[in-house]
Amino acid sequence: MTVTHGSGLRPGRHGSPSGSGGAASGGGGARSGAGRSRTTGPGSTAATLGRVLALGLIVGVALWAAAPLVSAGNRLGVGIVAVVTAAALYVYLSPRRLPAKYLLPTTLLLLAFQVFPVLYTMSLALTNVGDGHLGTKQEAIAAIEASSVRREAGSAEYRLTVAEQGGALVFLLADPARRRAYAGTADGLREIGGATFGPGGRVTAADGYTVLTPAQAAARGEEIGSLSVPVDGGAIRAQGLTRAYEGRATLAYDADCDCVKGGNRVWRADDEHGRFTAPDGGALPQGWKVGVGWANLTAAVTNPKINTHFLGVFAWNLFYAVAVVGLTAALGVAAALVLHHPRMRGVRIYRTLIVLPYAMPAFAMLLVWRDMFNTDFGLVNRLLGLDVDWLGTPLTARASVLLVQLWLGFPYMFLVATGALQTIPAEYLEAAQVDGASAWQRFRTITLPLLLLALAPLLVSSFAFNFNNFNGVFLVTAGGPFPSDNPTVGATDLLITYTFRLAFGQQGAQYGLASAISIYVYLIVAVISVAGFRRTRAFKEVR
């Protein structure tokens, strides 16, 4: 689910409601345009001109997008462009269909940045895509055969000149030791006379052959790469444009048995797992991408490594998200209340200072905090004269990641709370004061409920963000410290950091498994968020 977070308005720490980030910006653009249009008179030439330009732009962009698609023969892409353009023209050419004018761009953005990534993630989860399984079976076979070509030990290296005869490619091969020249084609090798040798012993001219310039040869690179000149026990192939070697493919694909043969071993295609396997269980390293159905999704649930540690990691993850939201909200609201006090002086300076952590790049700040927690060289221990192993013991490491996230996250809550406080009518508080309510009573019964009304939805989205706060943990503790009897689960691991290591730490990246896991994490967050939003509605009823 990290993909969708990228589309948030501010890829940051507080958890702007990621679900609507992309769409909201589109809608916002449209609205501000509507606002401006009021100042222009109806039917002005500028407006007409604008409309013409805009429609021209749509068509122009459509053509620009379609041209490479057509040349690449991508019918699906052309179709999508055509449909989108048609929809745009249909909606905007008419003065009616006002709702659609707003809906179309937001819908398209939603499709492009939300729906497509989610569907794509789901489609990946149904495959074995990952290191060694990235491409097609054809690509795997090509790679297996290409990397199996071995140079004959002790064989001569020929100096190569690429030439042609009647349009067909010919290798003019010079054996520098014997000063002999040969012409090699797919039919075989034969010696030629009348060749001129240049510096380095290469053939520079030969009767009946046209020597290609390097540029011409480069343009026929693919032909050069695929031409092999059969000789006894092997074939001569080009190594670049000026050298050729005698080699032998030690592995070859046989379409009849759908297997790879080499020496006296046979690797049969296993289309279920996307690789060639030998009877003894060994597999060739190069495999291909195949659909594996629900295997990844079930593996994520039945995998003992996920199962056994799931509850522990989940509990800490839940605690982390709740604690971060609670602490940032409490500190943010407290700071906002203090600065909201009428007798407070220098409010602007304080506000600027408080907002500072929010304005700095979270990425860099996380790394700075990590170094500040260093036992011997970190600022924290030096400043306080301590010798605490902050990130080395589970309890302090957990406290540290919470502290860092609190520092990064509270300014956002402060900003929101400050805004919400301005909207609470002063009369309510005055009336309560007249009735003899204490300051605490006024806060608890008037300010807090009204604040929560504004804050609650943000708390839920902040929770959803922090539940998956990969950077906040990974950049500070990398999930550690790890107990010495189990180096795979760290004390500060969130589900997302734990599964990240699981999916990418075994034999390279396993995107299929990672996608499957991210679907589960998404489901967990969705369930909790839905429950949270239900609660938000409950707050409204209190009012």
């Binding site: 449209a30 345009g33 509507a34 249009s37 222009t40 109806p42 039917g43 007409t48 409309r51 805009a54 429609l55 732009l57 749509i58 997008a65 490479p68 698609l69 690449a72 699906l76 892409g77 999508i80 462009v81 745009a88 004018k101 707003y102 398209l108 492009a112 290191d131 060694g132 990235l134 090509a142 790679a143 290409a146 071995r150 140079r151 030990a153 390097p214 540029a215 480069a218 343009a219 690179g221 190594q239 670049g240 444009l241 190069q286 490594k305 036992t375 011997d376 080395g392 950049l475 500070v476 503790t477 790890f482 107990p483 010495s484 180096p487 795979t488 730490g505 075994q506 034999q507 390279g508």
Partner: protein, 423 residues
Amino acid sequence: MRRSFVALTACLTLTACGGGTAGGETSGDASPAGQAASSATLTIWADQMRSATLKPFAEAFAKENGIKAEVVVVAQNQQQTFVTASQAGKGPDVLVGAHDWIGNLVQNGLIEPIQMTEDRLSGYVDVARKAVTYDGQVYGVPYAVENLALYRNTDLAPEAPKTFDDLVATGRELKEQGKVKEIVGYPVSQQNGQSGDTYHLYPLYTSGGGHLFGTKPNGDPDPADLGVGTPASVAAFEKIAALGEKGAGALKRSFTSDNSAAMFAEGKTAFLVSGPWRLADVRTAGVKYDVTPVPPFKGGGPARSFVGVQAFFVASKGRNKALAQEFVTNTLASDEVAKALFDAEPRMPALRTALEYAAAKDPDVAKFEAAAKDGVPLPAIPQMVAVWQPFNALIHSVVKGDPVEPAVKAAGKAIAEQLGQAG
């Protein structure tokens, strides 16, 4: 007429979106056929430093062959970017990178073997040749070799320690005299401070008798023979634990590569275990230093450091494979390129002739070469991915002072499980 403006702004939003959608959908396979025919462009991916050096050579090659060449700087995440881009048909023709990517790139079918004669191969230092050979095939043209060595502040410690025990004794003495703050600058932790650093700790682990994987007959590491969790590995970690936070206090989890080097540069420690990439820092700091191999434990085996080899690769899915092969095997494998790369950054060249040139120019090169003598190439097999995390965590547990045997056994079990599961 108000509506028309609604339409206008909405259209602008829409067009941006429409273009974006279409572009995103198709960028993967937009232009395979169209470009190659018109004029070939050889694309080379390299990091910042390498790309500046390689650019003139690429341009000369392009001019000579009547093509275009483009050196693209890929600053971060090069391996992953290469895998993703190649798979989408957007990859380069030539990639500059580290040899331990080979396993992963071969598994994904993204690099081509490079055929060189025995003569040409013997022009490279042994460890570099071994490093780029995977499953019996050469997959890259090596150009630089990097390994760990011991930097020593010669003002504080005039004598090079014969064993690591000597080193700790000297360091402790200096610390008691108040001349230094720490016994040794040994990067125990990764840059994130949160997991151990297998790469840096490997010399001590091997000197203590441990190994990660056995060796197959063809020279590749054998994942079936896992050395973590064996009695030998427990013994090795016992020795490391004795130097740890509850032992001699020489190794601490708070040491990272950066702060260890900073301590050494400031004279706060007399010893630093690091690679040639720290030479520039150390020289700038003006510390009088010498470089010697990382010393072994007293009575232990040789301290083998991991050797990383930088190499040029030919991409399988590049559009100009023949040109790329030509460029890599002839131009980039040349003496001049190796020397130019050395002049740009003092890493030990892999080509023997360039190594002689470098050693004559910079005495430290020969010292690092001596330190590489017992080195082993960083395993390039994809299974290494399964090792890093558990082994890193194990280092932290041991240095912290947790009971050694259960920790080593647990790490061995975790690695074995990860290896078995995806097998």
